[in-house]
């Protein structure tokens, strides 16, 4: 049941339309991190973590605000993994994040 005004509903619809773009950002982070992980460049991984953390922080906020709590939670979990420097776990969670956004995108389109 939605109590949202038409304007808010329109905002929410526009947010959903941005999912492919957000998936692209996540996939981009994922690919970069995978390459760096294979190269074993710790310094570069650390810098990449900073970039990814900033993106995840934004996503955690906006997905949460738009009632996608499950995605926001995974974003926070990924941020925690970055803090503990667990690269493999970060990769797993980014993969999961991309899949979840894709899943929501498909479900809501249909």
């Amino acid at each position: 049941m939605s109590n949202d005004s038409p304007q808010i509903q329109a905002l929410r619809a526009r947010y959903r339309e941005s999912f492919p773009e957000k998936m692209a950002v996540i996939d981009g982070c994922l690919e970069n991190l995978k390459c760096l992980f294979h190269e074993g460049d710790d310094q570069a991984i650390k810098q990449e973590f900073d970039v990814i953390h900033a993106e995840l922080h934004k996503f955690a906020g906006s997905f949460g605000m738009y009632n996608y709590q499950d995605i926001a939670t995974v974003c926070r979990d990924a941020m925690t993994s970055i803090s503990s420097r667990d690269t493999q776990l970060v990769l797993d969670l980014l993969t999961k994040l991309s899949a979840m956004i894709a899943s929501h995108n498909v479900n809501e389109e249909s």
Partner: protein, 521 residues
């Protein structure tokens, strides 16, 4: 009347004589009169009662009274308490004049006893004071030790909570991942396995089992996390409109497989069938129901678990009755303690579910009651405030308070900014937007706002720097930080933020308005 010589004579002849007789009789006054060559001239008859048997006229007094040896008979002297040959303590006054010396002895036994008693009392008192001081010292030492132990206990408790929270967090993250991926694979597998025969569906069954175990492990871990939050008072209850029918249906679907596995029945009864919209924290309500019904199922090996729910006059009452093992009377209070579990039941768990559930119910304004009979079963009852949502919706606009504020929102994320701006505007708030900290500082310098909502992670100038700049010129306007992370998760030093409140995203517009009403005078 003046005393004439005649009166003095009467006093001298009559009264003094009586006084003398009284003193002699009552106080055993004895005397020996000696001349200045120490020869005894006269003595009182009662001198012998003091043991001076050989006193006689003409005898040298130093031969019969040993304290007179060496005494100068021409000078008066008073001696302290002396012991006479009879053992009596006397006071001795030696009164000398030109002709003789009179040695007066007065029985001082009573005085002596009194002094002894006084001395004894003083000694006993001193002993008591000494003992008291020793006890006080012991008490101080014990108090210090107790304080030390208390500090150690507090530190141990803090470390335990911190350890549990830290470990639980670390477990939760990969578990969430496992569950998410098994859910995804399960979904994909189910679709393809549906075409095959049942003997080849074992992949789906195994995955389901792995998924269930992971979810169970996650719930244990989240209980540990909640336990840590209990200790630091971090558990928050956020009421929102929910459909009770849907909540109970979801919980039933979740618990049913557990009952099927154990071969016990699960019954749900309620006096509400069609959707019932109430204002309550649905995630916490689910948590309580799952914990309590889950416990009932865990401790019931045969028979059934019956859940009864009733909603009347804005109160939700729930009763969970099982035909399980029952709880010993002496354990009924202990089961509410964290980590306590009854011995010999062989049931798994952390022992935290009931503790957390009870605390959540208290936070929601209810009370948990447990009754049990060993061998027959247990009933758990609680009631919660669950106001009907339609009436609450109207009342909420009154309870939120004022909305005629002028607020500055500093937020770089366009999606979030647009949503917050629109939600606030729909509630009658005048909102201005700055997309980074630098613009926010400039707008604060040029305009007057009732309140600032500040995101922390912004480009050009972040929220920390912006607040610092604002506070250099304006210490009055309230600043409320909105961030996607709780304060302790921030990667930047946050000790110096001079904000008036901190909100963690996602933020409800009602939360913003409530804080605005609290902060804006």
């Amino acid at each position: 009347m003046k005393w004439g010589n005649r009166h003095k004579q009467v006093v001298s002849d009559v009264v003094l004589d009586k006084i003398n007789q009284h003193v002699f009789d009552r106080h055993q006054l004895a005397y020996i009169c000696v001349d200045h060559s120490s020869k005894i001239i006269e003595y009182s008859e009662n001198i012998h009662s003091y043991g001076f048997d050989n006193v006689s006229v003409g005898t040298d007094v130093t031969d019969v009274v040993d304290f007179m040896v060496g005494a100068d008979t021409r000078h008066s002297l008073e001696l302290p308490m002396m012991a006479t040959p009879s053992g009596t303590t006397v006071t001795v006054n030696m009164l000398a004049d030109d002709e003789c010396m009179t040695i007066l002895m007065l029985d001082a036994s009573t005085q002596m006893q009194y002094r002894s008693k006084l001395q004894q009392a003083a000694n006993e008192n001193e002993l008591l004071v000494d003992q008291q001081q020793k006890l006080m010292r012991k008490l101080e030492v014990a108090s210090d030790e107790l304080q030390q132990k208390n500090l150690q206990l507090q530190e141990a408790n803090r470390l335990q909570t911190s350890f549990l929270s830290g470990v639980s967090h670390e477990f939760r993250t990969p578990l969430t991942s496992i569950i998410g991926y098994t859910d995804l694979v399960k979904k994909n597998l189910s679709a393809s396995e549906a075409q095959k025969n049942s003997s080849e569906n074992y992949n789906v069954d195994h995955l389901r089992a792995a998924n269930r175990s992971s979810k169970h492990l996650l719930s244990l871990v989240e209980n540990l996390l909640d336990h840590g939050k209990l200790n630091s008072n971090e558990i928050v209850v956020r009421p929102k409109p929910i459909d009770l029918v849907e909540v109970f249906h979801d919980v039933k679907m979740l618990i049913m497989p557990l009952c099927d596995t154990k071969g016990i029945e699960l019954f749900f009864h309620s006096d509400f069938q069609s959707p019932v919209w109430v204002l309550i924290d649905d995630s916490r309500l689910r948590q309580c129901l799952i914990n309590l019904i889950g416990n009932a199922v865990k401790f019931t090996d045969r028979g059934c678990v019956t859940v009864s729910a009733s909603w009347q006059s804005d109160v939700l009452e729930v009763s969970i009755v099982d035909t399980g093992l029952g709880i010993e009377p002496q354990d009924l209070e202990k089961i509410r303690l964290p980590f306590w579990q009854a011995e010999g039941t062989g049931k798994a768990g952390t022992g935290l579910g009931l503790t957390i559930t009870e605390r959540i119910i208290e936070l929601m304004g209810g009370e948990l009651q447990i009754n049990s009979v060993v061998g027959e079963g247990t009933s758990v009852d609680f009631s919660l405030s669950a106001p009907e949502m339609n009436r609450v919706e109207t009342e909420q606009t009154v309870s939120i308070g004022r909305t005629d504020f002028n607020i500055l929102l500093a937020e770089d994320d366009a999606d979030i900014a647009n949503l917050v701006l629109m939600l606030l505007a729909e509630n009658g708030v005048t909102v201005s937007h700055a997309k980074n900290g630098e613009i926010a500082v400039k707008m604060m310098q040029e305009n007057q706002y009732d309140l600032v909502l500040m995101d922390l992670n912004m480009p050009v100038m972040n929220g920390y720097q912006a607040i610092k700049k604002i506070r250099e010129r304006d210490t009055a306007t309230p600043v409320v930080v909105m961030s996607a992370s709780a304060l302790e998760d921030q990667r930047h030093p946050v000790a110096a933020i001079e904000c008036d409140a901190y909100l963690v995203k996602p933020v409800d517009v009602a939360d913003i308005l409530k804080i605005a009403n609290d902060l804006i005078k």
